[in-house]
């Protein structure tokens, strides 16, 4: 299995547990993490990301509630046998755009300026 990485930006207005949940859900839903694959232990992932173990534990709880993973005492957290399918690229793009606009709003930047920045970046 190729090693995959997850990234958390602590300045992002999206809470770290949600950033983590989204990335892990994408990895499971797209089949990168296969059914039965073990997710990192809560304490290990929390230490690697410099987060509180409770943050990662909440991510795992949410993933379990959504049917992506199964947790078993002593057996760790593994990808569920039949996890939900991945979101379509269009939905993923919508989510990324919403996250971007949410961040610009927190920074006090208007929508027009945010769109202009995107166009400027795209034309480079």
């Amino acid at each position: 299995m190729t090693l995959q990485a997850v990234t958390v930006d602590v300045l992002d207005p999206t809470p770290p547990y949600e950033q983590l949940r989204r990335q892990l859900a994408d990895l499971v839903g797209s089949g990168v993490l296969a059914p039965g694959d073990r997710l990192p232990p809560v304490r290990q992932l929390a230490a690697d990301l410099g987060l509180a173990p409770g943050t990662v534990a909440r991510t795992y709880r949410e993933l379990e509630a959504a049917g992506y993973v199964r947790s078993r005492r002593g057996g760790g957290t593994r990808v569920a046998p039949h996890p939900p399918a991945a979101a379509t690229p269009a939905v993923a793009l919508e989510e990324a755009a919403a996250a971007y606009l949410e961040r610009t709003r927190v920074l006090g930047i208007g929508t027009d300026e945010a769109l202009a920045v995107v166009q400027r970046q795209a034309s480079r």
């Binding site: 995959q4 990485a5 997850v6 958390v8 990895l27 997710l39 232990p41 290990q44």
Partner: protein
């Protein structure tokens, strides 16, 4: 004490061999800075633990003899050295923390103790541990009281032998014998060392990873640390097993009473295991003094297409 002095030249030879064959990884300046920092931090604590262990072992060998003339403290010297290294390793690994920034990345992986264990050294520690446990159990089972009624300090045999056509009672007693008198404190110290080995391996496994671009080097650093932990364990076990086997072989001498087949076999096994364990234990000590290192190259690496293979460009 005499065995320790005899082992010193072997340890010195092993030290020189380990130094010549030392695993050295060179990284460029500003490359893998976090891993280099963690490696130096862990190494400093490990060396500190090694020095503390050497002092404790030297004290056990010298002062220990005057505190307990029967040698129970002297017997603990290898375990004290090993425990020093293990404690230093644990503190170093637990306090090594990579710096975290605003954007943090982690690899989706499950790190396990089994994944960082070097197989050959693990097998050696396992075999040596089984031999030592067997030697201590056998010593405790066959041990008896000595002339001052100290339990488990002597190997005593009672039998009836034919003298001038008449059966007479005979007995022989030899000591010091590694019975419960020595086996209990040794087993306690080795139990502590075993727990520390486990704790140190878990600490190495759980240490947070630095940035993912240093993944390979960080994994190598973990395997090196696990190797050093097992070398410390190997020294502790072999350094204890050697003298125990020598005492067993010395105690199982043919005397007034004939030896059983089991006793004869144990004697020959002890005669073979004792010197081998002493030599291998001394070699483990020599190897413990030299550990793999990450060296930082001061000169920048050549750019692709640069004429000079190494170093700064010629002006």
């Amino acid at each position: 004490m005499g065995l320790a002095v005899l082992s010193l030249p072997i340890a010195l030879v092993a030290f020189v061999v380990a130094l010549a064959r030392r695993h050295l990884v060179t990284v460029g300046v500003n490359e893998h800075a976090e891993v280099v920092r963690i490696a130096r931090h862990a190494r400093a604590w490990r060396v500190g633990g090694l020095l503390a262990g050497l002092v404790a072992a030297a004290l056990a060998l010298t002062v220990g003899q005057s505190v307990d003339a029967l040698g129970r403290l002297v017997a603990l010297a290898p375990a004290l050295l090993g425990i020093g290294v293990l404690l230093g390793t644990i503190v170093g690994e637990l306090t090594a923390r990579p710096r975290v920034g605003v954007r943090r990345t982690a690899v989706v992986e499950t790190r396990t103790v089994r994944g960082i264990l070097p197989p050959v050294r693990t097998a050696l520690v396992g075999v040596a541990g089984v031999l030592l446990a067997g030697a201590l159990a056998l010593g405790a089972a066959w041990g008896g009281p000595d002339d001052l009624q100290r339990a488990g300090r002597s190997f005593t045999q009672r039998c009836r032998v034919m003298v001038d056509g008449a059966l007479v009672s005979a007995w022989s007693s030899r000591g010091p014998w590694p019975g419960s008198f020595y086996a209990v404190p040794l087993a306690a110290a080795l139990g502590v060392a075993a727990l520390l080995v486990l704790a140190a391996l878990v600490a190495v496994t759980r240490r947070p990873r630095p940035q993912p671009e240093s993944l390979g080097l960080d994994s190598m650093l973990r395997r090196w640390s696990a190797g050093t932990i097992l070398t410390a364990a190997l020294f502790t076990v072999l350094g204890t097993l050697g003298p125990v086997a020598v005492l067993i072989a010395a105690g199982l001498q043919p005397g007034e009473c004939p030896m059983s087949v089991t006793q004869a076999v144990v004697r020959w096994v002890a005669l073979a295991v004792g010197p081998v364990a002493l030599v291998a234990g001394a070699a483990a000590l020599g190897a413990l003094l030299v550990t793999p290192t990450i060296r930082v190259d001061d000169l920048p690496r050549p750019l692709p297409g640069e004429a000079t293979p190494v170093g700064a460009p010629v002006r």
